[in-house]
Subunit: 232 residues, 2 copies
């Protein structure tokens, strides 16, 4: 069985590398949003797309076992979106994403947001070609999730702690949660926010904008580098 | 790949049948608790074990990728418990459960509670030999989860809608949620409760007691049947 798993992951990694090369050539900043079901990934996306409309051009891939509910919610913001239904599958893979983006004009986009199937386990193992995995944890889920699902919080570069508007009604120890996350991933970047009240969203938007700018610089530098190579 | 999946599930089903025969011989009522991470499975168990202490004898298997946090919480109630860590694995299987229960005196127990890894996808496909899968959905996760993760709510006989004490602070449509669940599973039994406030727990306890009594009757009948066969 171990060999089979390696084959699947090996094939996925090759396709993810191809996705990454494609995205990088377009100067696209790509995030893979992962979390438990119901942590608020789609709601964070809805608010982000609405609040940042005009500042950046987005495209969104929505992964779910069934329904096009999430894609419908995103489409209502006016952003190009594709729904991928995985059926019995528990995660998106690089092959699905490679085909999913065929429907977008990637040259016209700054940011590709991929919302994975709600699952804190399996999507951790599957590279989609993204720049960063962004793990969303809502405060209603309890502060211990980073140590109980360490693969995911280790694989993610960013953690969004969502639904902080509900903190007054919960027993949730914020410092403990952040400490648990840093135990499995000392470098994880953490944002506390509520896409319902809007609190903390600004810092997240600034981080997104930094990422988009860095991608543009990289693309420009690599183009100059190519031009220089041609000259000599 | 399809053949491999069938082999894994086929092997699991054979081991699950062996577990079921063992449990049935002991007259044990066995539940497999499944949900997203953080829906409150462990908290429901803690309260149930405490409130029903003296009425039934429990044993608990705890499934998590990492940590023995949940087993420690259950052990504090005085109930026999074993932690199974699945590592990279995203669900319990019948083999793990078969070995897990070796550590219990099953003849002394009425009820075996198996808390699965927090995951609304993969545990749906794996029979552990339980009488019922019990899907826990917390109201903070949103009412659409039964249609977005239909395999799980189809596989479950019971749905516990948890954290109803938080309803005043959320936009959650209870009737819509129940309607969604019945769309994928018309016969699903639904309990609305809060293990925090205690509201609605009584109906859940009554259902548990009914299950235990039915199992005792079955065991008695099959023993009489065996004795009758011996007589003739």
């Amino acid at each position: 069985m171990i060999r089979i798993e390696e084959d699947i992951l090996g094939k996925n990694n090759r396709l993810a590398a191809a996705n990454r090369a494609l995205f990088s050539g377009k100067g696209l900043f790509v995030l893979n949003l992962v979390s438990s079901p119901g942590s608020g990934k789609t709601s964070i996306l809805e608010r982000t797309l609405t609040d940042m409309a005009g500042r950046h051009s987005f495209a969104v891939l929505e992964g779910d076992q069934q329904t096009a509910n999430d894609a419908d919610r995103i489409a209502a913001t006016g952003v190009p979106v594709r729904q991928i239904n995985t059926g019995a599958g528990c995660h998106l893979d690089a092959h699905m994403v490679g085909h999913g983006v065929e429907h977008f004009d990637l040259a016209a986009a700054d940011l590709l947001m991929i919302e994975n199937v709600g699952n804190l386990v399996c999507p951790a193992s599957f590279d989609l070609g993204e720049d960063h995995k962004v793990a969303v944890l809502s405060v209603t889920e309890g502060e211990d999730k980073p140590v109980k699902y360490p693969n995911m919080f280790h694989a993610a570069d960013v953690m969004l702690i969502n639904k902080i508007d509900l903190l007054p009604y919960l027993r949730f120890d914020m410092e403990k949660c952040k400490d648990f996350a840093r135990r499995v991933n000392p470098d994880i970047r953490i944002f506390e926010l509520s896409c319902h009240s809007g609190e903390g969203m600004q810092q997240w938007y600034e981080w997104l904008t930094e990422g988009v700018k860095a991608k543009r610089r990289d693309k420009l530098l690599s183009r100059r580098h190519r031009d220089t190579e041609k000259t000599f």
